[in-house]
Structure formats: C-alpha cells, structure tokens
Point group: C2
Chain length 147, copies 2
C-alpha cells in the first residue's frame, strides 16, 4: 500500500522550497505504483520566469521520458489547474493525490468524470500555506492561474 | 487583419527545425492581437529529454511571463493535445489557429465548447509533414501523446 501522506509530505517540502525562493508554493511528486519517487519539483514562474512550470509539470518534467503513466501517481499540494489536468488526461496518469482543493479547484471534478482516480487528502498544512500565500501575493497568484 | 497564414508559416519553420534535430515536428507561435510574435518554439521531447515541451508550451514558455492572454493568438502546426488544450483554457488564450487536425485531434472541439475561437487552416504542407513523420516514427509519436 503506497503511503500517500508520505508522498504529500515530499510535495509539501517542494512547495516550501518554492516559497523560500519567492515563488508560488505548489509542489508535486511523480511516483511509480510502489511509491518510488520518479520526479519532484515546484512552480518556477518567478524563479525562472517560466509560466509553464507548475508544480505538477515540474515533477512530470523531472521524471524524464517515460513510456506510459497509467500506473503512475501524481501527488500535488494543490488541486491541479486546467493546464495540469490536461497533462493528466493526455498522458493517462492513473492516480492523482491532491493536498487540498479549498483555496483553488481547477478541473479536479472533470478528471474524475474522465475516469482518473483522484484522492483529496484535505491536508491542513497545505490549506494554511496556500491561504496565507494567496492573501499576501494576490497579483502573482492570479497571474499564475491566468486570471 | 492578422495574417494567420504568415504566422502558420513561422510555426511550420519551427516544426521543420524540430524535424531536422530528430524531434517531433510540431511548432507554434504565440502572437499579440496585431500579429507580432511574442514567443516561438517547437517540441523538445527528444532534444532535451523533456516531455513537457510541446510546440504550444514551448511558444508559451518562450514568450515569458505575460499578464493576460485573452487578446493573444496561439498558432500551432497540429491540433493541440489535451495537455495544450488545458493550457489554452487555464490561461484564457482567446484565439487558436490550427495548421491541421487530420493526423491528430486532441481537445479542439472541447475548446470551441469552452468559448475559445479556433480556426483550422487545413494546411496541406502541415498535413503531409505530420503524416510522413507518424508513418516513420510511430513509437516516438505515441510516446509523445501518451498512448
């Protein structure tokens, strides 16, 4: 049995790294079905001036080229935006684990409709971190989600 | 009036550059509403071992941080996959111009349902280039679209 809470802890470490760098604190992990980490990363909009690197795409990118994602697990501190939901659908990532969807909810329900397994851990630390970040960085946050 | 055919020609140049590098030949341009190029790029899965760089995300990335995409134009040689459609939806890109959707069609119809303007130029050169590429590189192509 894969310990999703442990993987979320690693994703949260990534998010905090992003925060300490002055960036958007969303972190993610791509793992195999045994829970081994294949890639990890965090949002790099500020750090690299690159609007394509969300937490989820960073973890996906850092896992390198893979042949098939059906048996992979994507763990993210925040409910994935539509961009990251598109990634999940296109590459048929089988399992998604979400830290929280209180502060933002993109296409999470749509993913479920598409047949993706989604677990929302409703993690208190993820909720608090993101709530504080959005309250203190509204312009950056809305830029990151295109609003 | 923006000349979409001219912008598609530039996107096709990008796709051909990708092909000459041994990569997946999909190229794209992000332009402003006057047709000025903000970013251009092509798929870099093979060249950089990076599965997140599709033509569309490359152009988006290379345009750097932008505040709002409603009045931007994304021109791509091939109908965008779900990953790139997610990008378009999340960032509210107002206009999408597609070179062709004969060899592959991702979420193009879904984008229209979401209120995105999509024009399909049904370009003969794009169709031929992609048909040849897929016929000769099936494994790489299916890897790139997660199948």
């Amino acid at each position: 049995m894969v310990d999703y809470h442990h993987l979320l802890k690693l994703a949260l470490e990534e998010a905090k790294k992003g925060l300490s760098e002055g960036g958007v604190p969303v972190g993610a992990i791509l793992a195999d079905q045994e829970g081994n980490v294949l890639g990890r990363g965090h949002n790099m909009r500020v750090q690299e001036g690159d609007p394509t690197i969300h937490g989820e795409t960073a973890a996906f990118k850092n896992a390198g080229r893979q042949r098939g994602y059906k048996n992979k697990i994507l763990v993210t501190t925040l409910s994935p935006c539509w961009y990251c939901c598109g990634l999940i659908k296109q590459f048929n990532i089988g399992q998604v684990v979400v830290g929280e969807s209180v502060n933002f909810k993109g296409g999470q329900d749509w993913l479920v409709e598409q047949g993706v397994n989604v677990i929302d851990l409703k993690d208190a630390e993820c909720i608090e971190m993101m709530r504080d970040f959005i309250a203190n960085n509204q312009e950056l946050w809305f830029e990151d989600i295109g609003e």
